[in-house]
């Protein structure tokens, strides 16, 4: 996919660009707000990574607001050292689709980017049923089956599975799960998410031959056939 990276710090820019290029994405770079805004208006991108505090007189949120005012709906991931909850809310209100605060791990950024692009593509059709391999869930009756066998899940476990299903084939980080399933925006010190995933695995993977939930080292989890 085509990514526009607007970031003034050269180290961070190179780090992100290198990582994304290695993952097979096409990356355009802009070092200040003016250049970034010009690029974002000229070309069509799949996603924009936008720093908030930029040199050159054009601030990140200003770029975002300008784009949205002109009807440009390219997903924007805000990447900023302003890590406060209020700042996040301000960023999302201005039209941002996701917010990653610095310092960040590349795997987190990548996972969120892919989730964003995917969401943008899938948004059109509302889902009632999803399946991965022989695992299928019905969102209306809230039932889960694997290989024709019914599996009982707690409401929270169901939401966890639903989230994983919606991001099938994508890495989902622990923070994404905590935000998406529990709606918590803080960093728990212990392995809370791991414990919940392991419980889910007990129910949907353990009685069956091959596992669907995979652990991705240093990143998170992935649901895949």
């Amino acid at each position: 996919m085509r990514v526009l990276l607007i970031e003034d710090d050269q180290t961070v820019r190179n780090f992100v660009a290198k990582g994304l290029s290695e993952a097979g994405h096409l990356v355009e770079q802009a070092a200040d707000g003016k250049q970034g805004l010009a690029l974002a208006c000229q070309d069509k991108f799949d996603v924009i990574i936008l720093d908030r505090m930029l040199p050159g007189g054009v601030e990140g949120l200003h770029i975002l607001e300008t784009l949205r005012r002109e009807g440009n709906l390219t997903p924007v991931l805000l990447l900023s050292a302003l890590a406060d909850v209020d700042e996040k809310v301000a960023g999302l209100k201005a039209g941002g689709d996701d917010y990653v605060s610095k310092p960040f791990s590349f795997s987190e950024l990548q996972a969120r980017l892919e989730a964003l692009v995917r969401r943008n593509r899938n948004e059109a059709q509302p889902l009632t049923k999803m399946n991965v391999g022989d695992l299928e869930i019905d969102l209306l009756s809230r039932s889960v089956r694997r290989g024709g066998q019914k599996i009982d899940l707690q409401p929270r476990e169901f939401r966890l599975l639903e989230f994983l299903m919606r991001h099938t084939g994508q890495v989902v980080t622990r923070t994404m799960l905590l935000e998406g399933v529990w709606d918590y925006h803080f960093d728990p010190q212990t392995n809370v998410i791991d414990v919940h995933i392991s419980r889910l695995r007990q129910k949907i993977d353990k009685p069956f031959e091959h596992a669907l939930v995979h652990t991705i080292r240093n990143a998170g989890y992935m649901l895949q056939e």
Partner: protein
Amino acid sequence: MSMFQRLVQTHFRKVRIQSVSLRFGLVYSALFISSSVLFLSFVWWGTIGLLEQRVRHSITLDAHAMLTEWTREGILGLENLISNRLAQDIDDNAIYLLSAPDGKLLAGNLAHWPARLDSPQSWQTLPVLRDGQLNLAQVRIWTLQGDYHLLIGRDISERTQIQRMLTDAMLWTCLMVGLLAVGGGWVVRALFRRIIHSINRTTLAITQGDMSRRIPVSGTGDELDDVALTINQMLDRITRLMDGVKQVSNSIAHDLRTPIARARAELEDASNSATSEQALRAAIDQAVINLDNVTGICEALLRIAQIEAGTRRSAFAIFDLATTLRDMAELYEAVADDHDLELHTDLPAHLSFWGDQAMFQQALANILDNAIKFSPPHGTISLSARELPAPLSRNGPAPSALRSWIAVLA
């Protein structure tokens, strides 16, 4: 501050018009002068008025006796009475004059009618010629039946003298009052300045960094002592807070330095002695974890700063504490289970609470984390909340409070 500056400053302080002490002194002087003048003029008017009243009273008494004599004995009797009165006048200040309808003087001690005379039946003060002397007199004229005229009066030259004496005395007194006012004002100003300066000296010393200074307390228990005690208490509290900040910054420095030092040591060690790529990667991963710890500490510090500064106040809102706690317990129940612990909750259906929900979740997560981490296996962690009858917070619209949060039982 240089010696010169200090000199200039003290000099200016002496002549400064915008000075509270000077204002106090001036107010005192003005009050003293105005009350003295008021008092003295009361005495002056009182004395002079009394004297005049006495003169009029004695003239009225005389007139009453004479009119009675006139009715009883006629003009001859009146003439005799006037002669008697004049003969018995010891003070030598009585003035009588009786004239016939044709203007002829029948009795009295005036050579002729006074030149300037207004209508009868009214009090007049005018100069009269008596025994070759022109003196001031108070007189009144009665017209008798048959167009006889009777003048009765009193020589008031003595009263004029008293009045002059009194006025002189008043002027001198005023001068004394003025001097006293200035002196008193000066004393008041000096007193006030001494009080202010004792506070000012101390606060100035504290501003320049000497936190050990305190305002001297006289021990008399007066208002000044109250002020001094309050300020001293305030200073004690500030000192305590500053000590607290110092302690916190020391521990922050420690908490930050430890993971940084660890990361540095690992990287340096790996750079010097790592033999394989795997060992290098492991060292780098460990350093990243340590750096993440530093980030976590920075965030916690920022949060503390925000809470202390009260900026998070804007995030305060009413939320259901019971639901928040239940959700939190649900998140951590699995973890507790994993550690062979039981998480027991005792929560009401609803508990309206006023606060910062995000901060609250964060705090609760830390507490539950620690409870799970430090409880021995097979223990019970109980989380309970209930509403207090008495409000703890006076600012919140929903005055309910969390009483007992969490008890860790082995």
